[in-house]
Symmetry: C2
Subunit: 622 residues, 2 copies
Amino acid sequence: MSEDAPPFQTQDHDSLTIPLLSHQQRSINSTSQIVGSIAAVSSSLLVGKAGPMVHTGSCIAALFGQGGSRRYGLTWKWLRFFKNDRDRRDLVTCGSAAGIAAAFRAPVGGVLFALEEMASWWRSALLWRAFFTTAVVAIILRALIDVCLSGKCGLFGKGGLIMFDVYSANVSYHLADVPPVLALGVIGGILGSFYNCLLVKVLKVYNLVNEKGTFYKIFIACTISIFTSCLLFGLPWLVSCQSCPSDASEDCPTIGRSGNYKKFQCPPGHYNDLASLIFNTNDDAIRNLFSKNTDSEFQLSTMLIFFVTCFILSIFSYGIVAPAGLFVPVMVTGASYGRFIGMLIGSWGNLSHGLYAVLGAASFLGGSMRMTVSLCVIILELTNNLLLLPLIMVVLLVSKTVADAFNGNVYDLIMKVKGFPYLETHAEPYMRQLTVADVVSGPLQLCHGIEKVGNIVHILKTTMHHGFPVIDESPHSESPVLYGLILRAHLIALLKKKAFLCTPVQLGADAFRHFSSDDFAKKGLGNVDKIEDIELTDEEMEMFLDLHPFTNASPYTVVDTMSLAKALILFREVGLRHLLVIPKISSRAPVVGILTRHDFMPEHILGGGSHSVVANGVYSWN
Amino acid sequence: MSEDAPPFQTQDHDSLTIPLLSHQQRSINSTSQIVGSIAAVSSSLLVGKAGPMVHTGSCIAALFGQGGSRRYGLTWKWLRFFKNDRDRRDLVTCGSAAGIAAAFRAPVGGVLFALEEMASWWRSALLWRAFFTTAVVAIILRALIDVCLSGKCGLFGKGGLIMFDVYSANVSYHLADVPPVLALGVIGGILGSFYNCLLVKVLKVYNLVNEKGTFYKIFIACTISIFTSCLLFGLPWLVSCQSCPSDASEDCPTIGRSGNYKKFQCPPGHYNDLASLIFNTNDDAIRNLFSKNTDSEFQLSTMLIFFVTCFILSIFSYGIVAPAGLFVPVMVTGASYGRFIGMLIGSWGNLSHGLYAVLGAASFLGGSMRMTVSLCVIILELTNNLLLLPLIMVVLLVSKTVADAFNGNVYDLIMKVKGFPYLETHAEPYMRQLTVADVVSGPLQLCHGIEKVGNIVHILKTTMHHGFPVIDESPHSESPVLYGLILRAHLIALLKKKAFLCTPVQLGADAFRHFSSDDFAKKGLGNVDKIEDIELTDEEMEMFLDLHPFTNASPYTVVDTMSLAKALILFREVGLRHLLVIPKISSRAPVVGILTRHDFMPEHILGGGSHSVVANGVYSWN
């Protein structure tokens, strides 16, 4: 029989990339994301809605994951089943998939996005859960559109379930069109990596300014907002008016919320093509750029101005306090770049300018975000034409390959700038040259199988670690033996119950008498119990606790001579939070140290000076 | 410095589900799969082409993975970079994705199919490689279609890149259509699991018969083939002739290769609707069933007869010697079932019968194969209409959920019947109650760091294990210490070079003098060196080998008290082939045993009687 079956589950899994917040923060966050995103988009800042939608979806999922919000009376008893790391992480992944699905009405794309970009750990059940979530999103969206068909809900639901739906007619293209498409991919890749590089530089400057206080944050946001407005109202003056085409499918010029031909300051029968792009929402601008049979609508100079404007504005708009997504801005920029190239190529190729815009958007997205399958599916779901698939695939592959030669994907770069401890999947080459012993941090705090309450309190008060190895020593065993790993949260739960023993004896299953599985459920980060809040008398401090029944008796271990690269694979693939290091030569202490995520971060390994760490890391026994 | 950096890579990764064959077998297999599949499909057996295509793709990939075929002069020097387990597995996964992509012209669906159903181990680089492969497939297909547009290649390329392309017009559906769709999903799930159950039973009978010899195999194949032919030519007599509709979009009746209205034995101006389904290829039958504006084309009785026929024939056709796929037969059956239900519902709903056929196919596929995302994308790529997405998602979710209550997915069931040692991802509940020590097999064979050649030969000859722990004992260390794991293939490579030592001394990097990395490259299974082929003199048998430089010095280890479920997670997630078990209490031997895939199989754990295994498994030291 294994000793690894406590009535509550001792998870040693790691959580998602998205930093978990306390539940107040989370509910406030969800609301502020929604409000802020609406404000930012409607103030015509060049920001996307996908980011805030993903964040909102993840926040709501995380709220479920901690059993609802007690403050707002939104708790359900059945939610307690999700109160563990793994389910919470799965929920957050599904939430982010739902966010993408809702933002782009792309349910399959949402699943793949969550899989390719969001989830740091993946299992097949998760694929099916995320699919379920986005299916529900698709159905509810569809139902709402059905309800709104009568026109009571304004512009909501226009265009069916497909957002742009610009290419449902047949597309024909031939082998001769491949070279310009390849060129589009190469340039898109270079532009995308350049975009990432600039974005990171601007974000670093913003970080410096933002540290100075709230006033500076708002100042930047206002400056960018005013600058954007001035630019957008000023730029259309630069281009000349065009006369309306005689065979236009819609009103020309249009005066209203959307439309391809904006009048601006032009005489009757004329339109301003730059205004047609700028005085629309981003979605409508993309639709205009993607639309077919409009090859003569835009001038070359207009396209260039619009591209440069979008490129610059989207970089400066991202880092400000408003919740901002990157997807739509990158897409607009890419579409204008693609259309510009298409106009340059002109009658050389058979493809329409609208198709070049689609491919340009794909190449710029690929160059910046470096996803392949999910971007491909999202673009397909937006344009609703599978005949484009081979071309989109080529463009994405080329732009990703080119861009990968220069820098990393934009999300990784942003996470690095913001300082999130995100663990990369693949091991750096130098990690093959280091052993686990080189980086393990110390001095190590450990508990004995039957430990004095005072010692536990001392350990908890003097360290901030989240897990402690449990050791059995004589008289309970001949030589010191590693029994397992106990979590800080569980130790605090034990201290809180005060079911102490007067003598150091080992209890059996009897020990669970005082506890329910709820006591060990994963708490929301806002209501974690702190060791300082537990009051213990001097008498209680002298009593004992049998930790055996509450210890994870089979934690994952590695030998201290294992190469760091291999330990990282184990840590990352199994999704661990603590990895115990045991000595190779058995005559020494039964445990050398604990590896956590931070020990694998390049900053820690390279910055800490591995040799000095080794000296500290070796735990001296006796 | 880690000791884990030999000049050749010591992989401890596991290979793909698909059993690897020797290279002759593989090249013969590829050819026979292609020929056999053409013969089977053209003899109107109800078999699919997806299975053989996937197999062919995987075989070609595996050929690359072993450096080409020396026998056919197809070797390239650069292929040696793929001569390791991990790259070979990745190649096979990409090959299977390419197979699906080519069979259904569904490149994204192919990637997802490989991901969801094929790959037992997944990493993000693999996603992008598989995507690259299927992109190449899509582009080459597109180019061939482009070349064949002139009509020189017969029917090849008809229908563009989309195989069926039946629903490119707008579809409208409302909330009221959801209940019949849900019902379709539930019944499809039940039918799918029933289908799986019957298929397994028939396969077991076939297995018994096939064991008796080649004659019986061919006899079964002939019987099924003749039975199919008789049935298909006889059945259309059962239904009455229909008069041609006046507004038919194609010729009625049609006499030729394809078409919706087959004349059979009907008077002029009439057609036989069952013959229209039967005397077409499966693809055309699906296209006929999926087509819209043909609600009055088929009779209810025709649909029922066709459904029952397909259901039975596809089960009996699968297990015969001809290479057969399941995808298309399941799809035809599902489409006829869906159309039947659609006709029963009649004017109650707003959906056309063709749409019911699409949804019926989705539900039956979901009920039998239990995939979600990949099936969804494949069906979308076949029908080329994203507006169907929400309905398809609902149907797939419902049918998968219902069917999961009864049995496993059809691929897992078939693998079980065929006896492949496929390791499930999730641990069975009883594995939580067992420790690693309960299942570890013994007696254990091990090598010393510096070992006598005679001992190595003895170990290799008396066991069939693929990996051996290497132990350091006095005088090289104070107490016995586990040094690492050495592979059988590497030991044989060492023996073959005969670079033996006269005295037991430890060499440094000097040991690599005699070897190049090619000596340790993974060989194709057909040309593995055998220990019996190596001739050694008595003198050489008395010499020594220093195994240290050739040993994987940091193998993954678990403590023998770890629960089996946790060890399985490690084994499966990291993709191991050998997992060393070390004792918890340090005073005993440094290694208890080795876990391989077979030790995790339910047959071994439950059949072997875990207690007797324990007794053998403990390796007695000294």
